[in-house]
């Protein structure tokens, strides 16, 4: 089974995100990056499925050269190889531009299953997987919290408002996995060493047959007009418990007339 995982490498959780006032984009150059935990879960799911059913896992990502560290991490976890869409012209892509690039890169090789995270941990739009599915012409099987593959059939437990749904489809398909579907493995030394020799193919937008006015900032349908810190909520009183903390909360609740 040929599995492709689309995953993002994002500024590490320890990084304080800054915005470039000119481009209105997150400053990504020069900051520490890591494989998005959501993407790590997608990689993990691909590895588990191919360990069971055989096959390969190819990670596809897009981003500046700083993201290589996250690609190596996925390879060290066990992904077979990786594809990196690396091109200044793709900077500023909106969700649809991103989906077009990823779909074009996916089409470069045979695939049975595309696995995406439901949403990235740095921009949360949550619609790129469904856009890719449409562009590839495969069924979107989303919000999966458990995946079972049987021959050509895929069955998932899909998160719902009141529990979960059992949803069936057929391969090739795109599945978006929800957070907590698994606990991603930590790369072992052997995997880290092996990752150094694994192939990372690099594509530009032109390699993928996309003109620069279809992707990147020029091709973006969504334009950011303003960006800034929201008005901060007025912080209230903070006390240190010296044995009366619970009672002091009760006083506060009385003050706001809850008790």
């Amino acid at each position: 089974m040929n599995v492709i995982v689309c995953g993002k490498v994002i500024p590490a959780s320890s990084v304080t995100i800054e915005i470039d006032p000119n481009t209105k984009r997150m400053v990504r150059k020069g900051v520490t990056h890591e494989l998005d935990p959501a993407a790590a879960s997608a990689v993990e799911e691909g590895l588990r499925l191919t360990e069971k059913h055989g096959g390969t896992v190819v990670l596809i990502t897009m981003g500046i050269s700083d993201v290589t560290i996250g690609i190596r991490n996925a390879l060290a976890m066990g992904a077979t190889s990786a594809v990196h869409i690396l091109d200044d012209a793709v900077a500023g892509s909106d969700t649809l531009g991103t989906a077009k690039l990823l779909a074009a890169a996916i089409k470069k090789q045979p695939f049975d299953l595309v696995i995406c995270a439901t949403e990235s941990s740095d921009s949360y739009s949550g619609i790129v997987p469904g856009q890719i599915a449409h562009l590839l012409g495969v069924p979107p099987v989303t919000f999966a919290k458990e995946i079972t593959i049987d021959g050509n059939n895929i069955t998932i437990k899909r998160q719902s408002e009141s529990g979960y749904d059992i949803v069936e489809s057929t391969l090739p398909a795109l599945v978006a996995v929800s957070s907590g579907i698994n606990e991603p493995r930590y790369p072992q030394l052997k995997g880290i060493m092996a990752a150094k020799k694994k192939e990372i193919k690099v594509y530009t937008a032109a390699d993928l047959g996309l003109a620069t006015d279809q992707v990147g900032e020029k091709g973006a349908r969504e334009k950011v007009l303003t960006i800034g810190r929201p008005p901060k909520r007025q912080a209230g009183k903070v006390i240190t418990d010296e044995g009366e903390g619970g009672k002091q909360i009760a006083d506060f609740l009385a003050e706001i007339k809850v008790i």
Partner: protein, 322 residues
């Protein structure tokens, strides 16, 4: 003529989702509210939509929309959009809403804006406000594509108000193309939840990583019981398997807006804050004085949650008894 603002009406357990009614209210304020309602629905469904401001409903009760996910609904809505060209179409940031918008935005090559908290129309273009999320920046965005602007709206962004309109219903045809029946909804499993539900709760007591284990949620339940509230949790607590996903509050869980929110052993990760920070009053208890949650709290206690909460429960009981 007023701009037509469409709303994709979504049902859950035979009732419209609160976000559907919130969006309709907003749509009727901004322009001419119209709804698209697909799949089986209770008999009073159309009247309910009219009660919240819909003046026209595009309707098909075909079961194909219930039995097959995304593709039939997206096909129908794409056809309707091309035919009628509404200024804006609103979808809830729900499982269904996101799937349909993803499909439509690629199919119509028009893009979409996610996580919208508010919007205005200006000369046929839309300006959407996206409340601060992961990166804690708030932005306003527009769509430069021609035609209908697709917006995914965050729950609880607008106050639902009854505003009854005379309504006309246009019956539409469901697509019969078998190629659209690729994602089959085989079974819906309802996971029973005990105690009061988070949706609509006036008081919510939430626990995070600091609770240290499943068994300690009983302590929060006690506090919830004396205050008449419901218990929630962070993603960390859910991912650890201590409590079910239905209790998760935050970016990938529920968005709540109670009168009183208790954050117990919760540091205040942006993902959690985005789901609860519009609560009227926030009280937090955390052992780390530097925890970001304190910046959002009306009352914070730096201390041991296992001492403070039981003392609080006793104190409330005592005062209520008095």
């Amino acid at each position: 003529m007023a701009d037509a603002i469409w709303v994709y009406a979504e049902l859950n357990d035979e009732r419209f989702t609160p976000t559907t009614l919130e969006m309709l209210t907003k749509a009727a304020e901004v322009g001419k509210a119209e709804a698209v309602l697909l799949g089986p629905a209770p008999g009073n469904a159309e009247q309910t939509l009219a009660n919240y401001g819909a003046s026209k409903i595009y309707r098909s009760a075909d079961q194909v929309y219930r039995d097959y996910l995304t593709l039939p609904a997206a096909e129908t809505v794409a056809g309707l959009i091309q035919q009628h060209n509404p200024a804006v179409m609103l979808f809830a940031s729900s499982y269904t809403g996101r799937d349909i918008v993803a499909n439509l935005s690629a199919r119509l090559d028009c893009g979409a804006i996610s996580d919208v908290g508010d919007f205005v129309l200006k000369d046929g273009s839309v300006e959407a406000t996206i409340p601060a999320l992961g990166a804690s920046y708030q932005n306003t965005s527009t769509l430069v594509s021609q035609g209908t602007k697709l917006l995914l709206v965050r729950p609880k962004s607008f106050e639902p108000k009854v505003n009854e309109q005379p309504v006309s219903v246009e019956e539409i045809q469901a697509p019969s193309d078998i190629a659209l029946q690729k994602v089959h909804m085989k079974e819906r499993v309802v996971v029973k939840r005990e105690g009061p539900q988070l949706d609509g709760a006036k008081t919510i007591i939430s626990g995070g990583r600091g609770l240290k284990g499943e068994e300690n949620f009983a302590m929060l339940k006690e506090l919830a019981d004396v205050l008449g509230g419901a218990v929630g949790a962070t993603r960390a607590a859910v991912d650890a398997g201590w409590v079910p996903y239905a209790m998760q509050i935050g970016q990938t869980g529920k968005t709540v807006k109670p009168d009183l929110y208790f954050a117990c052993g919760i540091s205040g990760a942006v993902q959690h804050l985005s789901g609860m920070k519009t609560s009227k009053f926030i009280v937090s208890i955390n052992k780390d004085a530097e925890a970001p949650i304190f910046q959002y709290s009306d009352f914070g206690v730096v201390g041991d949650v296992f001492k403070v909460v039981p003392q609080l429960v006793e104190e409330i009981k005592k005062r209520k008894g008095a």
